[in-house]
C-alpha cells in the first residue's frame, strides 16, 4: 500500500492526479474518434472503392453480391436488411413499451411495500440476463411453439420481435420506474386534493410529468433492439427477402453481419457492404443519441 502511495506521488504535488485523469479522459475521446473513423473509412469503401451509389445501396432490394455481371451483376442493395431491422425492432418496442410502462407505474405507484422492495431489484437483476440466453430460449421454446400452433416454419418476424420485446422489458421498466419515483410527491398529493382518483392522477399528472424519462427509456430499448445481433439471428430464419407476413422469415442488418463477416474475404464487395451495414448501425446509434438529447431538452423546457 505504501508503495502504491509512493507511486501515486501522494506526498508531492497534485499535478500527477490531474495529468492521469485528464489523460484517461483524453484516451476515452481518442478511442471514440478512432472507432468512428475506422468503421466509417471501412464502411465507405463500398461507395468509394467499389463505386456503388448510396441510393442503390440503401433503396434497392437486389442483394446479389457474388453474382457475375452476366447473371445480373454484383449488386448490393440492403433495403431488405434495413426493412428487417426496422420491422423487428419497432414491433418489439410497440409490444414492450405499454407493458413496461404499466409495470413501472405499478411498481412506483400501486404496488404495496413488498412490490417496491422486491420487484424493482428483481427486474434490475433480470436486466443482466445475457442476450444469447433470450435467443436460445426463443429458439428452443418459441420457434417450435409457433411452428406447431400458429403455422409457418417458426423462424419468423413474430419470433424475432417477441424475443426482443422480452429482452428490452427490463431496460424500459427500470428507467421508467426511476423517473416516476423521482417526481415530487406533492404533485400527486395536489391531484388527490383536487379530488382526482388514482387513475386520473396517474394519467393527467404523473405520466405527463414523467414523459421525457419514459420516452428516453423507450428509445434506449429501441436502440438495444435495433443493435442486438445474436438473439435475433437465432430465431428469425435469415431469409434475404422482404417478409410477406409476420410468420415469414426475415433478415436484419446485424444478423447479416454476424453470419457473413467470417465467410467473405476482406476487401471483396460482399465484405465491404457488410462494413457499410456496420456503418449504418453506427449512424443509427448516433440518431438514437440525438433523439435522447432532444427528448431531454424538450422535457427540460416543459418544466
Amino acid at each position: 500500500m505504501n508503495l502504491l502511495y509512493k507511486a501515486l506521488n501522494l506526498s508531492g504535488s497534485e499535478k500527477l492526479g490531474r495529468i492521469l485523469t485528464t489523460g484517461a479522459a483524453a484516451i476515452a475521446i481518442i478511442s471514440t474518434i478512432t472507432i468512428v473513423f475506422f468503421i466509417s473509412s471501412k464502411g465507405l469503401s463500398t461507395f468509394l472503392v467499389n463505386g456503388v451509389s448510396v441510393k442503390d445501396f440503401l433503396f434497392s432490394t437486389h442483394w446479389l453480391p457474388d453474382r457475375l455481371p452476366e447473371e445480373g451483376g454484383p449488386q448490393v442493395g440492403v433495403l431488405v436488411f434495413i426493412f428487417g431491422s426496422l420491422t423487428v425492432s419497432l414491433l418489439a418496442v410497440l409490444l414492450s413499451a405499454p407493458l413496461s410502462v404499466a409495470c413501472a407505474v405499478f411498481i412506483a405507484e400501486i404496488a404495496p411495500n413488498w412490490g417496491q422492495r422486491v420487484l424493482q431489484p428483481a427486474i434490475e437483476i433480470l436486466a443482466g440476463i445475457p442476450s444469447v440466453v433470450y435467443g436460445y430460449i426463443g429458439l428452443s421454446v418459441l420457434v417450435p411453439f409457433i411452428r406447431n400452433n400458429i403455422g409457418g416454419l417458426g423462424f419468423s418476424v413474430l419470433a424475432g420481435f417477441l424475443v426482443l420485446s422480452v429482452m428490452i422489458l427490463p431496460t424500459i421498466v427500470s428507467i421508467s420506474t426511476d423517473t416516476l419515483r423521482a417526481l415530487p410527491g406533492e404533485w400527486k398529493e395536489a391531484a388527490y386534493a383536487l379530488g382526482a382518483t388514482r387513475w386520473q392522477a396517474i394519467r393527467m399528472v404523473l405520466l405527463p410529468a414523467a414523459r421525457s424519462g419514459i420516452m428516453t427509456g423507450i428509445v434506449l430499448g429501441l436502440a438495444r433492439a435495433f443493435g442486438e445481433a445474436l438473439a435475433v439471428q437465432m430465431v428469425i430464419g435469415n431469409t434475404r427477402k422482404i417478409p410477406g407476413s409476420i410468420l415469414d422469415p426475415v433478415i436484419t442488418l446485424t444478423s447479416a453481419i454476424t453470419m457473413d463477416m467470417g465467410n467473405t474475404p476482406m476487401g471483396s464487395l460482399w465484405n465491404n457492404s457488410l462494413w457499410s451495414m456496420g456503418l449504418l448501425l453506427l449512424i443509427m446509434s448516433f440518431f438514437f443519441i440525438v433523439m435522447i438529447r432532444f427528448i431531454a431538452l424538450k422535457g427540460g423546457a416543459a418544466r
Binding site: 501515486l8 506521488n9 501522494l10 497534485e14 492526479g17 492521469l20 485523469t21 489523460g23 479522459a25 476515452a28 475521446i29 478511442s31 471514440t32 478512432t34 472507432i35 475506422f38 468503421i39 471501412k42 407493458l99 413496461s100 404499466a102 409495470c103 407505474v105 405499478f106 400501486i110 404496488a111 427486474i123 437483476i125 443482466g128 440476463i129 445475457p130 442476450s131 444469447v132 440466453v133 435467443g135 436460445y136 430460449i137 428452443s140 421454446v141 422480452v166 422489458l169 421498466v173 382518483t197 387513475w199 386520473q200 436502440a223 443493435g227 442486438e228 445481433a229 445474436l230 437465432m234 446485424t254 454476424t258 463477416m261 467470417g262 476482406m266 448501425l281 446509434s285 448516433f286 438514437f288
Partner: protein, 294 residues
C-alpha cells in the same frame, strides 16, 4: 361514479401488466434453470466439448470466460476509475467536458456487433494478433468502459462534501484527498459497479465472435508458460467463451446432445450472471456496513 369505475379498471390493468412482466421474466429464468440444472454435473463443468460425439462438457469455455473477464477488467477498472474521477472531481462545465461526455455516450450506445467489427479491424487484423483473448478483452473494455465510468462518477458524487472539505481543511491537497478520503468513501459503490460490469463481460457474445474467436485450441492445464500456444494463460490464443459457445452449438452444432449442452451452458451462464448481480448488491451493502461501523 364513472371515474371511480375507470379507476378500478385502470388498477386491474396495472396489476395485470405487472403480473405479465413478472410471469414472463420469472418463467424464463425458471425454465432455463430447471432444464439446464438437470444437465449440470462436475463432468459437464470440467470436460472439454466434443465436436461430433455426445458427452462433451464446457470446461474450457468456463475458464475462457473467467480469464477474459480478468483480462478485460484489468483495463476497464483503472480506465473507468480515472475517467470517473476526472468527471466527478476535475471537470469544469466547459466544452472539453462536454466532448468527454459525448464520447462516453457514443461508446455506450454502440451496438456490440459494431464494437466487434472495430475489434476485428484494429485488434485482430492491424496488430496481427489474430483471434485472441487480448483482442476480445480490449473489445469488451470498449463496451464496458461507459458503465464503469458512470458508476465511478456516481459513487464519487455520493461521498459527502463535508468529508472532502475536512480533508482539504487539514491541509491535504486535492489528489491526496481523492486517493485517501474520496475513493475509500466511494469504495462500496465501486465494488458493486465493478461486479456488475463483470457480469456483463460474462454474458457478452456478439463483440467476441470476431475478436476472441469461435474456437479454442486444445488446452493443457498443466502448462503455465503464458507464451506457449497450448497454455490456457496465453493471452494471444483464440478463445471461445461460454456465451459464444451457446450461440455456436445452436447455429452450427453437430453434436447429438445439443439440447443438453445448450441447456446446461445457458443455466451456468444465468447462474453466474445472477450471482454477480446479487453479489454486487449485497457485497456493496456489507462493505458499507463494515466501513461505517469502524
Amino acid at each position: 361514479m364513472n371515474s371511480r369505475i375507470a379507476d378500478r379498471i385502470a388498477t386491474v390493468m396495472f396489476w395485470a401488466g405487472a403480473l405479465v412482466v413478472i410471469i414472463i421474466l420469472g418463467s424464463l429464468t425458471g425454465y432455463v434453470l430447471y432444464h439446464g440444472g438437470k444437465s449440470i454435473s462436475w463432468d459437464f463443468l470440467t470436460k472439454p466439448p466434443q465436436v461430433v460425439r455426445a458427452g462433451g462438457g464446457i470446461g474450457p469455455q468456463i475458464f475462457n470466460s473467467f480469464y477474459l473477464l480478468v483480462l478485460s477488467m484489468a483495463y476497464t477498472i483503472p480506465m473507468g476509475l480515472l475517467v470517473g474521477i476526472y468527471l466527478a472531481e476535475y471537470a469544469g462545465s466547459n466544452r472539453w467536458t462536454e466532448i468527454v461526455r459525448l464520447s462516453i455516450e457514443t461508446l455506450n450506445s454502440l451496438p456490440s456487433i459494431v464494437v466487434g467489427l472495430f475489434g476485428l479491424l484494429v485488434f485482430v487484423n492491424m496488430t496481427g494478433w489474430g483471434y485472441s483473448l487480448i483482442s476480445g478483452a480490449l473489445a469488451l473494455t470498449v463496451i464496458n468502459l461507459p458503465l464503469m465510468i458512470r458508476i465511478t462518477e456516481e459513487s464519487i458524487r455520493g461521498v459527502p462534501a463535508s468529508l472532502r472539505e475536512a480533508s482539504l481543511a487539514l491541509g491535504a491537497n486535492r489528489w491526496q484527498t481523492i486517493i485517501k478520503v474520496v475513493l475509500p468513501g466511494a469504495f462500496p459503490g465501486l465494488v458493486s459497479g465493478a461486479i456488475i460490469t463483470s457480469g456483463r463481460v460474462f454474458g457478452e457474445a456478439a463483440a467476441l465472435l470476431f475478436t476472441a474467436g469461435m474456437s479454442s485450441p486444445a488446452l493443457d492445464f498443466s502448462n503455465w508458460n503464458i507464451f506457449d500456444s497450448s497454455s490456457p494463460l496465453n493471452p494471444f490464443r483464440p478463445a471461445e467463451t461460454l456465451a459464444v459457445h451457446i450461440w455456436k452449438v445452436n447455429t452450427e452444432g453437430l453434436i447429438p446432445d445439443l439440447r443438453r449442452v445448450a441447456d446446461g451452458s445457458a443455466a451456468v451462464l444465468i447462474l453466474v450472471v445472477l450471482g454477480f448481480n446479487l453479489a454486487a448488491r449485497y457485497l456493496g451493502r456489507i462493505i458499507y456496513r463494515r466501513m461505517s461501523a469502524t
